[in-house]
Amino acid sequence: MERQIYKSIRGGRQSLLGYLKSVYEARNLVWSFAVRDLKIQYAQTYLGLFWSLVQPLTGLIIFNFFFQRVIHLKLQVPYAVFAFTGIMGWFYFTALVGQAGTSLMNNQALIKKIQFPRLVLPLSKALVGLVEFSISLMLLLIMLLVFGMGISYKIIFLPLVVIANVITGLSVGIWLSALTIRFRDLHHLIPYLIGFGIWLTPVFYPTTMVPEAYKWIYYLHPVANVIALYRWIFIGLPIDALQVACSFGVAVLVFISGLYFFVRNEKFVADYL
């Protein structure tokens, strides 16, 4: 009589789809890790989650001072709102790159002792970032009301843009998390990439300031287009549909190849750590 096999382990490749199924089965773990990270981050602090506003607000104050008082940049919209929409998208992106990228390294003890789909670790960072993003979003809505700009019907597209923001961040984060296991050098490179990346991204400056010759970059730059979409929703700035489509194509490509690379390498993770 054939008995039912509860679980089976074999060497060799696992299909991406089969793996994603196991991630889906472990979905409550994504939630558990996200809750854990949030609790740890803000445990025993008096301001708690509002600390997540400190970084974007400091950025806002510095950019505002520099571009209004020093450079006297003229925009049709309030600069604070313009800069903050950029900051919001950029910070969610960098949080994902930074946290998802180091998530395997930072959970070595766990990975060596308990089996679970490792992809859960970078994925859970999307939820952590979402909480911080939501708080920034609330601040943005308050700013819109203060500046009397109102909220457009386009806000119904916001969830889609947030998803694009998450995919963009995770695509880089997943690649980095799998790569850092084998190439520890990347661990040191991540903060540098993030610090450098903000200059390539129209966070605190409008794309109109960029010479035409360099604008092709935005066809390959998903974060720039995520930010453009936030500005389209909240400020009503125009978007270049082709640019958006092109760059999101790049993001999806990086994301799927990242998943594939991650799954291929996951089984070696415990051996390499």
């Binding site: 409550n28 308990i114 520890r184 089984k267 051996d271």
Partner: protein
Amino acid sequence: MDAEIMLEVKNVSKGFRLRENRADSFKSMLSQFFSSNKNDVQHFQALTNVSFNLHKGEALGIIGKNGAGKSTLLRILSGISEPDTGEINFYGKVVSILDIGAGFHPELTGRENIYLSASLYKFTRKKIEERFAEIVDFSGIGKFIDEPVKNYSSGMYLRLAFSVITCLDAEIYLIDEVVNVGDANFQMKCKAKIEELIAAGKTLLIASHNMNEISILCNRVILMEYGQVIETGGPDIIQKYMTIALPQFFNFKADEFFHIKDLSESPFDQSRLSINNYGIKDYIVNAEGISTNHPFAVFLDIELKERLNTELRLKFYDATGALIFTCTSWQDDGVRIEETGKYHLEFKIPANLFNTRFYSVELRIVNRDFQTLMFKADKFISLKMSDDNLIPGHIREVTLQGLIKPLIPVVITPY
């Protein structure tokens, strides 16, 4: 064995590239890429064609020296590491306990850690809620359950972590050395829990260095060496393991039943005291070792070159390093080693004291006036003891467990 199979391990092999040669930085990756010699990557075969079955209700012990592949095997069975080849089938829900408190985070409260840890062990929220009270109860944490675990004592921490694991029911448990953490009290509790699992008909696989534990807990044992299963059998193969693993440890040469350490390798100040001769005498050997059924003596010839209030001690250890007893020259009869001169000492070891085991003897020479240690030699003498009664064909061919085996008279009378 008619019981149904719970775990099938078929031809599992696993190799590693050695760490030194791994491309763990861009620099070494580049240099390897451009290097014409591709063979400089060293390969280490951790497991070779490991196969065995685990039946329902069995407690299987895996023993072997460090590096024999026990931990690699357990990591593969747990799904943490992947085998290169082979197949493993589980016929029941499996929980692997490679570490107590894996998944615990110091900043989280006991309650939060229970949920996190249990969900890592793939238990649903509903299931955890059902067992929650039981977990807290078993841990004895009580009102501290909503405190961050960083404020717990290490004992509380371990108790909580262990109760999470044991209260979640599975059919197969994979356990790696975990019973060796914590204080004696906690270890007792762990062992009791494991015995409870065995009694409840659960299936266990335990890897451990601790031969005593394995021989007490397990009804079947797998002996591993160099990543291969050398032998499978009852707990009696533990003795076999001892004969493989321990002679080197005790510096035995082939066919030797004891080893006397060369003390000239451990020099000390001989201007006041010298050890001129030492060893064992009056012993009788049987086919397997020195007979435990006859008395023998450990002797030492020492010379005091100046007046020195001297005490000699022998400490007897078992193979795992557990101290069994100490004997001393400082006896009630008032005979002292103090005036200059030569002394011949004999420590008379009675018959029927030792078990069929390896023992090592440590020598200590102490200055009684200042209570200072003047000389110490560990594994001064190593002994392989053997009970005549265990030699096949003898009337009482029985293994009695224990570090020593004093002959306790039993009076049996009809009433």
